[in-house]
């Protein structure tokens, strides 16, 4: 087990290095760099900028260094907690990302919990009552859930909320609590808002997980060890929970790993629609303004968290499934 953990953690390092190189390559792709677009922006506003000022700016952001030096500086910064500097916002990336990342992670955790709580009973019931009416109903819902783009779901929820319930859907904190210190009232207000992005972001995953659990459980219910267990005189429900469910549950553990990228993807677009103070909309904004370092840093943070999430779910899987542990 110890070897397994050590191996998995060591494997993380080259993965992260490769990801950071790929991302750094990508943010170098657009023509020009952060300064040129910032200059264009300033010139459009009518400000005159001297050659020396430009040179100073370039020097300040080390834009004339060789590429590999720039890369090392960028990645090195991550170890010191320095996530880079946003040229457009003229602020450190860490300041910009700080709170937003917290909200994103809150939504992520909420979505995973939502997914589990909904997907387990539906998938379980669908499998043990295969081809029943409820199985068909859940199947239809699952297919619909997988087919509906989450931003559309958000829009529909907003429309329904506005037209039929007269509530404004969107944002995470009501205007009256903006900028106020945390209090119980603010927390309640947050909870009133945050369930919507949790549901919207979690729906597709829930639908997928229902299908996976149903398929896995149906598969496991056919296995000879279930017959063995029945022949022992176990009660049906105890049996199903002790054996097939125990094995079919593996995808639930893996969700921690694969749902994170899905949630970041969902957040990127739902955050825009619902006007959330999360990192998704910040990424879009940074891309629009060609603030590539900010975009790269955000992408790297998301990827690093995903790698970490995968590690956690792999370790959890190894903990519950001896076949992986002994492999």
């Amino acid at each position: 087990m110890f070897n397994y953990i050590a191996r998995r953690i060591l494997l993380m390092i080259p993965t992260l290095v490769a990801i950071s190189m790929l991302i750094f390559f990508l943010i170098q792709l657009p023509p020009g760099d952060a300064i040129t677009s910032r200059l264009a922006q300033l010139q459009a506003e009518g400000s005159e900028i001297s050659e020396e000022a430009i040179a100073a700016l370039r020097a300040r952001f080390y834009l004339d260094d060789p590429v590999h030096v720039q890369y090392l500086r960028w990645v090195g910064g991550f170890f010191r907690g320095d996530l880079g500097y946003s040229v457009v916002h003229e602020q450190p990336v860490s300041t910009l990302v700080g709170d937003r990342l917290g909200y994103t992670m809150l939504i992520a955790v909420g979505s995973v919990l939502f997914t589990w709580v909904i997907a387990f009973p539906l998938g379980f019931y669908s499998a043990i009552r295969q081809y029943s009416t409820s199985d068909y109903v859940f199947t239809i819902f699952a297919f619909l859930g997988m087919a509906t783009p989450n931003f559309l779901l958000a829009l529909v929820l907003m429309y329904l909320g506005h037209t039929y319930f007269g509530i404004s859907v969107g944002g995470l904190i009501s205007p009256e609590f903006m900028g106020q210190p945390y209090s119980f009232a603010k927390l309640v207000d947050l909870l009133k808002h945050i369930w919507i992005p949790m549901v919207v972001v979690g729906t597709a995953g829930t639908a997928g997980l229902v299908r996976i659990l149903r398929a896995n459980l149906l598969d496991e219910l056919q296995k000879p060890y279930v017959i063995t267990a029945r022949a022992k005189g176990l009660k049906s429900l105890n049996l199903i929970f002790k054996y097939p469910v125990r094995i079919a549950i593996n995808p639930f553990i893996s969700t921690v790993g694969w749902m994170l990228p899905a949630i970041f993807s969902g957040d990127a677009i739902v955050g825009v629609v619902l006007n959330l103070p999360t990192i998704g909309p910040l990424l879009l904004e940074s891309l629009m303004t060609q603030d590539m370092y900010l975009a790269g840093s955000i992408l790297l943070i998301m990827s690093a968290l995903t790698v970490f999430g995968t590690l956690v779910s792999d370790l959890l899987l190894a903990a519950i499934d001896p076949r992986i542990r002994y492999d």
């Binding site: 063995t228 029945r230 022949a231 519950i320």
Partner: protein, 354 residues
């Protein structure tokens, strides 16, 4: 061999009479068992022989009332004398009821064909074997542990103290089957059903496992029902043999008699397809065709489409009865039947039209 009285004969532990099992499937109604009858005297061993698809395993599942989804006992009785002396008709019990659950694993235990997959891969063997005792005994946790270790020792697994905590995939096939035997013996059942216990094993360990089963049967005086397609296995293991084809008995005889004097063409074909180590060299025989789907039972004698010794039209229009040829030797074939009546074979005739 048919028991007409409702009571159970003193010496018997199981009496199955005129058993019919039906499955409703999309493609039609499957008819795996069609009037199977047999009994097992206490402490004795019987063999059920036939090709795959003959309904052998379904018979075992019926006794345990664990037929797969869609399966149903439509006719017949299965009387069992429990360990406490009570006589119950298993066919009448609620399959998920309290009583049936106590019988399953408590009075009747089963050894499965695939020791590979018959154990859960994510639970330790101890966990799975102790479960039997948790359900069927009042032993304390420590006593259960002691008992499981004892069982492991009994079935010849070395270093039982630590091996009980292993997972099934850490064991070799033979060791796994030993663990399976330990599990089946845990509750000291009255009847042990072994369904092709050695088919999935290496030839070298087959004999060891069979010897172990025989030894345990004698030691605990358990009735044994050995299901196999391999007549070679039967010879040394059982007292009495039922040859099964398409869910009914085609021949039944004491084991020595069957080998000496096989009467039914099917039995002969089966015997001929066992390789012989002695005697003149000859081509190994096989039975042509394969067992037809039980969705469409052949009319007449069910074996006639594959039979090489048909006597005439009666074979596909008539229905042979089971007749006693010698003492305790029964056969269902027109060759040996005095009368060749075209009477309907069984009550379920209407289902043919389905």
């Amino acid at each position: 061999m048919k028991q007409n009285n409702a009571e159970m004969k003193d010496g018997n532990i199981v009496e199955v009479e005129d058993l019919y099992v039906r499955f409703s499937r999309d493609e039609g109604i499957l008819k795996p068992i069609n009037g199977f009858s047999f009994n097992i005297p206490a402490g004795s061993s019987i063999g059920v022989v036939g090709e795959s698809g003959c309904g052998k395993t379904m018979t075992a599942y019926s006794l345990l009332r664990i037929l797969p989804r869609g399966g149903q006992i439509t006719h017949g009785s299965m009387r069992l004398r429990r360990k406490n002396g009570e006589v119950v008709d298993l066919a009448q019990l609620d399959a998920d009821g309290e009583k049936m659950r106590h019988i399953r694993g408590g009075d009747v235990a089963m050894i499965f064909q695939e020791p590979m997959t018959a154990f859960s891969p994510v639970h330790t063997l101890y966990d799975q074997i102790a479960e039997v005792l948790e359900i069927h005994s009042d032993l304390s946790d420590q006593d259960i542990r002691k008992r499981v270790v004892e069982l492991f020792d009994l079935v010849g697994i070395p270093d039982p103290e630590s091996r009980v905590d292993a997972y099934a995939f850490e064991f070799s096939g033979g060791m796994r089957q030993r663990a399976m035997i330990a599990m089946a013996l845990a509750s000291e059942p009255a009847l042990l059903i072994a369904d092709e216990p050695t088919t999935a094993l290496d030839v070298t360990v087959q004999a060891q496992v069979l010897r172990l089963i025989k030894k345990m049967q004698r030691k605990f005086n358990i009735a044994l029902m050995l299901i196999t397609h391999d007549l070679g296995v039967i010879a040394h293991m059982v007292d009495y043999v039922y040859v099964m084809y398409m869910g009914e008995v085609v021949e039944a005889a004491p084991v020595a008699e069957l080998f000496k004097n096989p009467l039914h063409p099917y039995t002969r074909d089966l015997l001929n397809s066992v390789p012989k180590m002695t005697g003149p060299k000859q081509e190994l025989a096989h039975i042509k065709g394969s067992v037809p789907s039980s969705a469409a039972l052949p009319p007449g004698c069910m074996f006639h489409p594959r039979c090489t010794r048909r006597v005439g039209e009666v074979c596909w229009t008539g229905e042979p009865a089971l007749v006693e040829m010698n003492k305790n030797h029964y056969v269902r074939c027109f060759i040996h039947s005095p009368e060749t009546s075209g009477m309907s074979r069984h009550a379920e005739e209407t289902e043919y039209d389905a």
